[in-house]
Every structure is written in C-alpha cells, then in structure tokens.
Amino acid sequence: MHAIRSALKRSSILRGGRIARALLSSQYAYMLEYRAEIALWALSGVLPLIMLAVWQGSPGAAATGLSAQGLTRYFLAAFVVRQFSVVWLIYVFEEDTLQGKLSPQLLQPLQPLWRYLAAHVAEQFTRLPFVALMLLALALFQPGMLWWPTPSQLVLAVLAIQLAFILRFLLQSVVAMLCFWSERAGALDRLLLIPYLFLSGLVAPLESYPAPIHAFAQWTPFPSMLAFPAALLAGEPVEISLGFLRLGLWCGLLWPLVVVLWRAGIRRYSAMGA
C-alpha cells in the first residue's frame, strides 16, 4: 500500500515536471518571437534610473543624509528588481475573460493561472539579455557605478526578487479574479499601481519619507515588493529574516484568497463571446 502511494506521488511529481517544462519551453519560444516588444518593455523600466538622476542633484538627498554611493546603488538595484518582478496578469486576464479565450483553457486538466505564471517566468528569461545590455551600457557610460554583490548577497537577493515577483503575481491575481464580476476590472490596476509607485520605494528610498509614512508603508505589502530585495542587492544592512518573514506572510495571506475567489468566480463565468 505504502509502495503504491509513494509510486503515485512520484508519478505526479514527474507529471508536474513535464507540464512545467512543456509550458515554460513553449512560452519561452513565444516570447522570443516578440523580443522587440520585450526590449521596449525593458526600456520602460527606466523609472528608477530617472529618479536616480533627479535625486543625485537634489537638495533633499543631502538633507536626509543619504550618501551618493548608497543612493546610486539603491536605485540601480531597484531597477534590476523592477525588471524581474514585472507582472501584467490583469491585462491579459481581462481580455481572456471578456473574449471567452479562457474557455478552452478550462477544459484542460490544469489550473489556467499556471499558464500565466509560466508566461511571466519565460518573459523574465527573455528579458535577461536586454537588462544585461542596459547595465553594460551604464557601466561603459559611468564606470564605477556598478558593483559585485557577494555570493551570499546575490543568492539572497535573487530569492527575494523571485518571492517579490510571486507576491506581485498573487496580488494582481486577486484583482484579476474580479474580472469575473466586472467588465472593467483592469481599471482597478491603476489604483493598485499608485501605492506600488509611492510606497514600495521605487521613486524614493523609504528612509527619506517622514517617519509616520515610513511606518505606515511597512504595514503594507509594497516595500516587500521592491525596497527589501533592492536593499539586499545593494548590500545595505537590512533585517534579512524579518524581510523574508514579511514576504512569506503576505504570500501566505493572498494565496488562499486567490483560491477562494477563483472558485467563486469560475461559477459566475459565462464565457462571453462563446
């Protein structure tokens, strides 16, 4: 009995592995086809670099006591984190539910969200060379701007970036599930973007915020999405275990919510356009 169960378990792991490989390789091929678009997308992530340029010459930076090197490293790290935690789930999901493209996916013995997740991961791989090129251009333009994180920093930072990506994916999934109830759930993404922009540390280091706003931000999931991985990558002193705990807690909170919303939503789904 025990042997059968463990054999079953092994075969289901094998099946999961096969599905993951098939999904990732097909999505990667698809993304490669649209590499021009992805290059443009990578270019659209320059916001932290623009903010770096403004901060460097601003009187505010000196007043908050941020060192020039610390500022540069923070924003460069934020640039990298942003590049590898891009999520556009709401846009595709809204279109797929409105046009009934979700219907054929529902017939397959696979939760459709996995397919979207695979598309995002494949896009990150396609994006990798473009980001490397942009960083190389920066290094040529201003040598000494880049730095090598220590191996342990790098491993922790990559882990934090991936968790931040999953957190963003889950948060967008929650909003995307509302597409089952409203035709314009995509508009809600605009609302979600605002706290992400101003509370995650994308446009200003959180330390420069007035204390009450800084404290408030720490109670939201947004600093975990950017400021924490960026600080890790930049080699700033951070509370590593607390940061990962926050990431884990937020993911653990949102995951069941997505599952519940999916189950309720799929009953309402009327396959418009079918």
């Binding site: 649209y34 992530g45 623009i50 403004v54 420069s208």
Partner: protein, 266 residues
C-alpha cells in the same frame, strides 16, 4: 476645402459623442479615476517635497514654480488618458487582427480616424487637477502673469500636446512592422514621467537627451516657464519648430508605414 473641414468636424462630434455614451456605461470608473488622480497627486507632491528638502527648491526652481511644472505634467497626462491612449494604443490590435483594412477602406483620412475615433472622459479629472495645480503655483508665485504670457503659455501647451501626440503616433505606428508591440506606448508613459520635474533638476547629459532625443523639455518645462513669465524667444521658437516638424514627420511616417502594410496573415 471648407466643406471638407466641416465634414471632418461633424465626424469628430459624432465620434466623441458615441464614445462618451459608451464610456458612461461604466460609471464606477469615475470613482476609480477620481481616487487614482487624488492618490497620484498626493504621492507626487510628497515625492516633490522630499526632493526639494528643507530649502524648498529643486534645480533652481522654487517650490511654487516646480508645482507649475507638475501641474503641466498632470494636465498632459490627463490629455493622454482622454485622447491619446484610447485611440493610439488600439492601432496595434488593428494591425494584429487585420481590422486596419476596414479603416483604410473608409472615405476618411486613416490617420485622422485612428487618432480621434475614441474619447475617454476618464482623463478629465486629471486635466482639472493639472489646471488647479498650475493655477495654485502661479497665484502663489512672485508675480502675476500678463495676458500676453498666458497666451504664449497656451500656445506652448498646444505645441507640447502636439509633440506628445506625434511621439505616441510614431511608437504606435511602428506596429505595422513589428506587429505585436503590445502596449509599446506604455513605454512612453513611463519615460515621460521625467517631465514631472523641471529640466534643470537633471544632470547636463540627461538635459541634452530630454531636449534632442525625447523632447520632454518642450512638454512641461517650457510651457511652465512661459506661465511664470520667463519665456525666452529661443525656447518658444524651438517648441513651435519641434511641434511643426514632428507633425509633418508623423504624416510622412504614416504614408511610408502604409506602403509597408501587408494586412494580416498575408
């Protein structure tokens, strides 16, 4: 000529009234937009105050004059949501699905149709917020603007809007060659964020980039200077010339693009 203009005017009224009717179906969007404008405004003001620091100035611009720049940015961002985004971001799907064929068959200029077909009222709160911010900044500034300064500022704003339109149209039109630059226009939205701050807040290298390559300076800084009564002949001439050239450029670009258009699945 006059009858042609009348025909286009009538079409425009028709286009916009039908899209207004369609958009007003989604009244909840108004709440979402109002919230998003307020949130954006609060966030932008906070970041500006952080950047300005205790000295309350940024790149040689006083707090109130930096507010005018932010106001012009907000106004143009609202204009983008009203007219540019609903129209130009659709060119991509027209090319991808082959529905551009139907547009080309209509007895109306295709660039006109693609640029004006839709109107989204959801950018209006942003435009109002921008105007209020500009008014606030000017009213609390050192001196009141003359009627002449206001006129020049309006002209420069118009030319800024035209430059913005050309940039959008150029990027959206590239989809004829690249078929799927899905939301490539979003790139512009993110890089144009640079216009939130006066050009002198940037290091010299970027100032050149934002003047010559991506003319952000003409979008926000130049109109703001005119409003504050600091317009200089060179910058006014530069803005008008850039607007004219970019408009002619989009026209020529669209004609070349259409010659390369091979319709979907062919």
């Amino acid at each position: 000529m006059l009858s042609r203009l009348q025909r286009y005017g009538r079409s425009l009224v028709c286009f916009w009234s039908t899209s207004l009717e369609a958009e007003l179906e989604y009244q909840l969007n108004l709440a979402v937009e109002l919230l998003s404008v307020l949130g954006n405004l609060a966030g932008s003001l906070l970041v500006l105050s952080l950047l300005a620091g205790p000295s309350r100035q940024l790149g040689g611009w006083s707090w109130n004059s930096a507010l005018v720049v932010l106001g012009v940015y907000t106004l143009l961002d609202g204009f983008t949501s009203c007219v540019l985004q609903p129209n130009l971001s659709r060119i991509v799907s027209h090319v991808q699905n082959g529905t551009l064929d139907f547009v080309l068959l209509k007895p109306i200029d295709s660039q006109f149709w693609l640029s004006t077909r839709s109107f989204s009222p959801w950018g209006l709160p942003g435009m109002v917020a921008g105007l209020v911010l500009m008014g606030w900044g000017v009213a609390h500034g050192d001196h009141q603007p003359t009627a002449e300064a206001l006129l020049i500022a309006a002209l420069l704003l118009l030319s800024g809007a035209l430059i913005l339109y050309s940039l959008w149209f150029l990027l959206a039109g590239l989809s004829i060659w690249f078929v799927k630059i899905w939301n490539a226009t979003e790139v512009l939205r993110y890089t144009l964020v640079a216009g939130r701050y006066p050009i002198t807040a940037y290091p010299p290298g970027l100032r050149v980039l934002f003047t010559v390559v991506l003319p952000v300076v003409f979008l926000t800084t130049v109109p703001a200077e005119a409003l504050l009564g600091r317009a200089s002949v060179q910058w006014v001439a530069g803005s008008l010339a850039t607007a004219t050239l970019s408009l002619i450029g989009t026209r020529a670009f669209w004609q070349v693009a259409l010659r390369h258009y091979t319709s979907a699945s062919s």
